[in-house]
Amino acid sequence: MAALLRGLRAGRLLRGLPSVVAAPASTNQQCSSLRRSFHCAALRLQDESKSDKSSASSSSSSSSSTTHHEHYQAHSSHQDTEAASQQDPDPNSSDREQDEEYETEEQLQAQILAAALEFVPLYGWSMEAIAAGAESLGLSSASTGMFPNGSGDLVLHFISQCNSKLTEILAEQHNQVQLGQAERKKTADFLRDAVETRLRMYIPYIETWPQAMSILLLPHNIPDSLKHLSTMVDDIWYYAGDRSTDMNWYTKRAVLTGLYNTTELVMLQDSSPDFKDTWAFLDNRIQDVVNMATTAKQMQSTGEAVAQGLMGAAVTLKNLTGLNQKR
């Protein structure tokens, strides 16, 4: 996996060294210009990926560093002095190299998964889609080895992408309200719009979505999928204006989770044009929740009034029987 990455980066390095490639075998005059151009190229390399310089010096990556050395040596005979100067033992290099690789690897994985999404309607949420995605980026289909939990990774990546998009949309709407360019929506409408927006992101993949849902229910994927679900619900409530710090925090999020999950299931079986039935179902459920909340509030105020009445009756009795006198 690491060797694959270095091979990929070597390919990029080759593309990024036009000045060095263009230089012929050296004379003294050309040596200095070569060295200068090599320094420029080296600086560019430094910007791209610091680890390549340090990988030349770290002994743990001997095989790929020799590859790099060969590439450099093929282009310039003053390679050795340059390589020697690059081999400064850098105490931070191994840490930096590991961190750099980690970051680049994540980005690479994200790119492959994003490309694989195009092939999902064709191959489903599977390793084949990831392989096809990798190939469409010009990488070997063996890069599926980077994804031991292949289909799970793909679905989770898609979901986190959808959540980020939703958060952006909600934040944008929030800004609009702050700037006074838009009206503040009522909570019920806000929730309805947020859930609808989020579920609409599934429409291009709706054929294969049952498969995706079953993948999310696999035991090793459940923690991640629950985390994504809970952050999404928390985001929606936050932008709806919820700032509660008591049990309401939990009940509200539980209600929205139920709302979202049931609507998602309805959407899977909906065949009406533009999923009209799903949105109607969503409307009805939100109405139910609003009614329940109103009823709960009414019950609470009734209960308080009754309690006060009883207390009043008790105090009256105590007064009548003389128990309330201070002794």
Partner: protein
């Protein structure tokens, strides 16, 4: 120099992650709820610090909520006695603390503890039952509770000072202020006859055990 570039380079990609997008967008949300331009809690550097902060705030919020309910229980019994006004005064200060923590939790999107109903009942029960033993009982309960709360705040102050006092200046100031208020309550309890020996001894031991377990349990469970 290398380390600075290293940390800058390594911290930067973190800002691209969705969680960080969410956090940077969080600032726009907080403008709505608070007119202050700054927050008591500094924006977290990474996931770990965020977790640590949230845990601390959650426990503190639970503690203030519990203290609130304890005083409520005491007032329910002794509200109309001579110590009523005194307890009411202490309760009002606790209410201010709770309000402050509510504000901080809302601003920083901290999840409140799921055990709130438990602290509600337990606190009220503790306050009411100690108040039933009379003024000395209530004061002994106050002394024990406030002592353990002060100890808890002190250990938090120590932890924050050890890690980075400059970064957490406002938070430290706030916690110190609250700790001083709690110490005042503790001293008030002592002044008002909490020291009638038998009651105090029995009480303080039991209460301290109970409260230490509650606070330790809350730290463990609330996480």
């Amino acid at each position: 120099m290398h380390r600075a570039a290293h940390t800058a380079l390594c911290d930067w990609p973190q800002f691209v992650k969705p969680a960080m997008i969410r956090q940077s967008l969080r600032c726009t949300g907080s403008l709505q709820t608070s007119s202050r331009a700054y927050s008591v809690i500094p924006p977290p550097r990474d996931r770990e610090e965020e977790e640590m902060m949230h845990r601390m705030l959650r426990v503190d919020h639970a503690g203030e909520y519990g203290a609130n309910r304890i005083y409520a229980g005491q007032m329910a019994v002794l509200g109309r006695s001579r110590t009523g006004p005194l307890i009411q005064q202490m309760w009002d200060q606790e209410k201010k603390h709770l309000a402050k923590f509510n504000e901080i939790l809302a601003e920083n999107r901290v999840r409140p503890t799921a055990l709130l109903p438990l602290w509600n009942l337990a606190g009220f029960a503790l306050g009411a039952s100690t108040a039933l033993l009379g003024k000395e009982g209530a004061m002994a309960c106050t002394v024990a509770v406030e002592e353990s709360i002060s100890e808890h705040y002190n250990s938090q102050i120590r932890a924050l000072m050890e890690s980075d006092p400059e970064r957490y200046t406002e938070l430290l100031q706030m916690i110190k202020e609250f700790r001083d208020d709690e110490m005042d309550h503790h001293d008030t309890g002592l002044e008002h006859d909490a020291e009638s020996v038998s009651v105090f001894l029995i009480f303080a031991l039991d209460d301290r055990l109970l409260n230490k377990n509650i606070s330790k349990g809350s730290v463990v469970l609330n996480n």
